[in-house]
Each structure stands twice: as C-alpha cells, then as structure tokens.
Symmetry: C2
Subunit: 155 residues, 2 copies
Amino acid sequence: MATDADTNGEGLGPLDSLLGYHLRRAGSVFGGAFSRAVAGTSLRQVPFAILSVVSANPGIKQGAAGRTLGIQRANMVALINELVDAGYIDRRAAEDDRRAFSLTVAAKGQETLDRFTREILEHEAELLADFSLPERKTLMKLLRRIEAREPPAAD
Amino acid sequence: MATDADTNGEGLGPLDSLLGYHLRRAGSVFGGAFSRAVAGTSLRQVPFAILSVVSANPGIKQGAAGRTLGIQRANMVALINELVDAGYIDRRAAEDDRRAFSLTVAAKGQETLDRFTREILEHEAELLADFSLPERKTLMKLLRRIEAREPPAAD
DNA sequence: TATTGTTATACTCTATAACTATA
DNA sequence: TATAGTTATAGAGTATAACAATA
C-alpha cells in the first residue's frame, strides 16, 4: 500500500512561498467554476471576457478591446471572427478610422453574456461559501492592486 | 487622436465582478515576474514547480509529483524527460513498485532551484513593494483557502 | 513613420483515449 | 481489476515577425 506522502506529496518546497504559484492554482480552481457554469456550451473564458468588454464599451475598436484584456492584436483576429460568426458581436468599419473595426454586442450576445454571468457568479459563490463578505472584498481589492502593476503590453 | 476611452477601455462590464477573471490577470502579472527572473534561460514555470516538489520530496514517484501540482500523468512524461535530459532530475525505477519511477533532484537541479527561487522572490518583492506584510500574508492565506477547494483530479 | 488589422507560425499547457506492464 | 507510465493527438492561450492599408 502506498503511504500518504507517496500518493499525496504535500510538500511544495520553495514553490510554496511564491505568490505566483498560488495565484496560478487559485485561478485554475476558478477556471473549473467557469467550466462547470458553461458546461454543455462552447463558451470559453477569453471570448466571454471580450463579450463583456464590448458590451460595456459599445463601438470599442478591436485593438482597444484587446488591450483592455491583454490580448495581442494578432490573437484578436480569430477570436473576433468567432464571436461575429456566432452572432454575438457586430463588426463594422469605424467611421473615424478606416483601418479599424468598431465592435458592438448583438442581442444574442447580450443574452448570452447576461445568462452566463449569472451562472458563473453562482458557481463562484459556491467556491466562496466559506468566505465572509469582508474576506471577499479584501481579496478582490488586493488582486486589483496587483493587476494595476501590469506593465503596458509592448506588442 | 484617439480618446482615452478609445485606447484604454477601462470598463470591463460584468467581467469585473468575477473573481476568476482577476485571479487570471493577477496570475499573469506574476507570470511576468517569473519570466523576468529567468530571462535568458529556458526555465519555465511548470518544470520549475516540478523541480521544487521533487526537491522537497526526494524519491517521490512521478505520478505523485504530478498529482501534487495538478499535472496529469500523460503530461508529466515529456516534462520529466526534459528535466532528466537537462540533468536537473535523476529518475530510477522504484524499488517497491516496478511500474513506477522514483525521482530525486540532481546537484545541478538543486543549484538551479536555489538560484532561481531567490531571483523569483526578488522580482515578486518588487511587484509587492506597495503591500504591507499583513496584506501579503492575508493574500497568501486567502489563496491557499481557495486552492483547498480544488476537487481531486479525476484523471 | 506609426498604427490597425491580418496572416503565418510556433510554443506551452492542458485534455482524452488507448496501450503495456505491473500490482 | 486497478494503477504507473507511455504514446498519440487535439484544443486553447499566447508569442513573434512580416505585410497591406491607412493615419
């Protein structure tokens, strides 16, 4: 029979002192919550994020939406194509800059966004059942402060 | 000229209320710290993590190391091959189970682990310069509690 | 000259299914 | 039967370089 330490190595070593590691693992736990929330659909985290940003900024240009989310221009192309093809986003030439595309959320996209936002929040709430409201707010605040330290993407 | 809202869409929409999103972004900021710490080398986050776990658990079996880090058996194979080829890890048949491999960190691997742990901690400290010690401890505690909610990998 | 979107391409991490050899 | 490691393969996210059209 295998010992406990054998099958369940508790010791992480120096890794345990690195905040980056714990952020990564905690993020993966919440990634699971997202997956369960959208189970059965083909919605993914990144397209969902784009949908949210476009909804909050009607007419936003493709590049700006990408910059907001830390997604590079080159990688936005296929993502936006996908959202347009799915009927979630409308894309039209920007009036003030003929190089750019102006994005707006279509009715179907807004419904999808609203519906799955609720689902995801519910699944996140399950994970956070043991956390007091002050604890949740503290965590959110600390994470936002870390995000603010992100250097502007050089591209 | 582009307006501020044009180039820097601040509004995230409902996304902003999702902890999963903020964990992801904060994790990416610390991923940047890791990258800067190991710049010029070919060391990556996941192999570094494996090195740390093996160092803390000499003789640990390949599967157990993967389970500790949430890495699936199938994906461990190439990662361990890489670490063995680099001379960081020694792999030998387990004495008590002829199916399994027992892993230990080689001298070169231990030096690498020690050296880069210091580097990464320094780079993380820069990111956390504005955070008080209680704030850092609080964040660490909250993240560990989230990690503890991870369902056991089904495989 | 710089920027927007684009194409092509590559790498890392993750996921699943099926196989083998041992337990 | 179940488990350890393996192979093959695919999806998803991210990275860089180079190009055309426009600013």
